[in-house]
């Protein structure tokens, strides 16, 4: 029958298309899939340089950019098998976890001559002692951002977030690790504690904070703070600089209890289809002028000595990007939690957010 023939023709067509998709999926060794944080690479907006476009032009690679909003989401994406990608930029503790669970591939440094620019201080970090899996991208600290016109006095401590005068006016991280860090520091505990009592106490603090917060946010913080829609938000110091350019009423403080100091690094997941391309991209990002353009756009601190040398004095002396010794002395880096703690924190976090 003609109809059945037509149907089989259409079915064959769809099969063919699937095959085409298959071919386009594995056939093109030209494509590099990069999963990055939002607002975390100079992309040509606001008069910056479109680095991906430049890379594509120089090398002929075809870059596909996708985004995640937290280390935890990235972990979910990599472990669920939902995506396939060639390059990711997780933070320290997540790198340690991904290495331990076998989700990262070793990097071939023969393809990354520019690695020589990485400062010694950022080599052999605890999360990747042999530097086999990660190349530092940026570093920075968390801070408390506030709107000078909307607070009664400049805050100095994380406690300000719990101040009921600001009910419905403060924001909070929508990821468990950063949120718990703030609660733990408020209580005077280490942000890497594995003590169940301390973590439960922190969760209780977050439950209390729930009454006060307007919402849980990640990059929505930009819009909320720039548009005077909230008075206070903990966020990453580099992003404060970007926000302040839009809204000069904003200011920040490194709270006295201490802050989190982090390193984000470029890594290649196992199963990457285009490892050579990913390595070429890493090398490209370490080029002094590329790194400079990138750092000027995202305003995070650089671990790249050649880039640092190119920065102007104002940037080098900006305490939000390069904090003073006393801030750094009290800043604590995340270390990788054991599986049991990860599980406990996941559960506590769901309790906090589910309320």
């Amino acid at each position: 029958m003609k109809m059945t023939r037509l149907i089989s023709a259409i079915l064959a067509l769809s099969l063919l298309l699937s095959c085409m998709a298959l071919l386009s999926g594995c056939g093109s060794d030209n494509q590099i899939v990069i999963y990055n944080w939002g607002q975390y690479m100079s992309d040509g907006s606001d008069g910056s340089e479109d680095l991906v476009a430049r890379f594509e032009e120089e090398t002929g690679y075809d870059v596909v950019l996708r985004y995640y909003e937290s280390n935890e989401e990235l972990y979910g994406l990599l472990t669920s098998g939902a995506i396939q990608c060639d390059l990711v930029i997780p933070s320290d503790y997540m790198i340690a976890r991904l290495i331990e669970e076998g989700y990262l591939d070793k990097i071939d440094y023969a393809n990354i001559p520019n690695y020589k620019y990485i400062m010694d201080a950022y080599k052999g970090m605890a999360y990747d002692p042999t530097d086999a899996y990660s190349v530092p991208y940026t570093w920075g600290t968390t801070c408390l951002i506030y709107n000078t016109k909307m607070v009664k006095e400049a805050p100095t401590s994380w406690n300000a977030l719990w101040d009921t005068d600001y009910k419905g006016n403060v924001l909070m991280f929508r990821n468990s690790r950063d949120a718990f860090a703030i609660a733990l520091q408020k209580l005077g505990y280490s942000i890497n504690t594995t003590s169940e009592t301390e973590l439960r106490a922190a969760a209780a603090e977050l439950v209390k904070l729930r009454e006060n917060w307007q919402g849980l946010v990640m990059d929505e913080t930009f819009e909320k703070m720039e548009g005077n829609n909230a008075c206070m938000a903990p966020y990453y110091a580099g992003d404060f600089i970007t926000m302040q350019e839009v809204n000069p009423d904003l200011d920040y403080v490194h709270p006295t209890e201490g802050v989190n100091i982090f390193v984000d690094a470029m890594c290649i997941p196992t199963g990457a289809r285009n490892k050579a391309g990913a390595e070429a991209f890493i090398n490209f990002m370490l080029e002094p002028d590329v790194g400079k353009a990138n750092i000027e756009y995202i305003a995070y601190s650089t671990p790249n000595s050649a880039v640092y040398d190119l920065l102007d004095e104002e940037t080098k002396n900006n305490p939000a990007m390069y904090p003073a010794e006393d801030v750094l002395a009290k800043a604590e880096a995340f270390s990788h939690w054991p599986e049991a703690t990860n599980k406990l924190v996941s559960e506590l976090w769901l309790e906090v957010t589910n309320g």
Partner: protein
């Protein structure tokens, strides 16, 4: 009095439905990034929109998937409807119950169930989810709508038509092609259009089955998490304008036809 109240009520409903959309459209013409203070008229967000390769790429992907999925679903669904129509009642009900599952089930459940299967397949074949999985998922949720659009047309059709064609010596396939198909064409057409719209609009199922493949709704979703450029407003305005003009065209055509019918009735 009653009339005034009705008009007021309808006015409020329309204000409710349209106010947010109109604000969004209005600010697409803003000259700065602010979404609450109008600082001056500008078309720069429209220029930005068309020069954004990511948005344009996602738009292309969306159209590609929608057209392919609607085509396959229409053929598959029309054939299925013709077949199901001649089933005995009980078998028909049984098949229709399964067929309606993607319509009745919460979208998120359809999405995760397909994702579970696709991830397994992806693991076996070392073929990550992408265009193929989105296309298959879209066909799957489109076909039931085609079936539901075609079946009533088959029911309305005089069942003796097909038999008469056979009696007059037409081979079955020609009878289907020349007699049945023209009768049910309106159902097929509306099934196709419905598939097209559902496909272009779908976010939930695509979110779970797309891997790195990006359709417009998926892109908008990731954009919603970032400080949004007003080009998204511009995009909305254009979509709004497009839908509005299609609807007005349909309305004008059908109003003309209605008047014609009335005139003929009057004669």
């Amino acid at each position: 009095m009653k009339k005034l109240f009705s008009a007021l009520w309808v006015g409020i409903i329309f204000l409710f439905l349209y106010f947010p959309l109109l604000v969004m459209v209005a600010f697409s013409f803003n000259s700065t990034t602010s979404k609450s203070v109008f600082t001056g008229f500008s078309l720069k967000w429209y220029a930005e929109l068309f020069s954004d390769p990511q948005l344009m790429g996602a738009l292309g992907n969306t159209l590609l998937v929608a057209v392919l999925a609607a085509l396959v679903a229409t053929v598959l669904g029309t054939a299925a409807a013709i077949g199901i129509h001649s089933y005995p009642k009980r078998a028909r009900n049984a098949v229709m119950n399964i067929s309606n599952v993607p319509i009745i089930n919460p979208e998120i459940v359809t999405g995760i169930s397909l994702m579970l299967m696709f991830v397994m397949v992806a693991g076996w074949l070392r073929l990550p989810m992408g265009f193929w999985s989105v296309l298959l998922a879209h066909i799957t949720f489109n076909v039931p709508y085609v079936v539901l659009n075609v079946l009533p047309k088959l029911r309305q059709m005089n069942s003796h038509l097909y038999e008469a064609a056979l009696d007059l010596g037409a081979p079955p396939r020609r009878a289907l092609w020349r007699v049945v198909l023209p009768e049910i064409m309106p159902g097929i057409a509306s099934g196709f259009l419905m598939s097209l719209t559902y496909s272009m609009d779908d976010f939930v199922i695509t979110r779970f089955t797309s891997g790195n493949f990006q359709t417009l709704p998926v892109l908008i979703y990731t954009m919603l998490k970032k400080p949004l450029p007003l080009s998204v407003n511009a995009l909305s305005a254009l979509l709004f304008l497009m839908v509005l003009s299609i609807l007005i065209a349909i309305n004008v055509i059908s109003a003309k036809r209605y008047k014609k019918e009335q005139k003929e009735l009057a004669k």
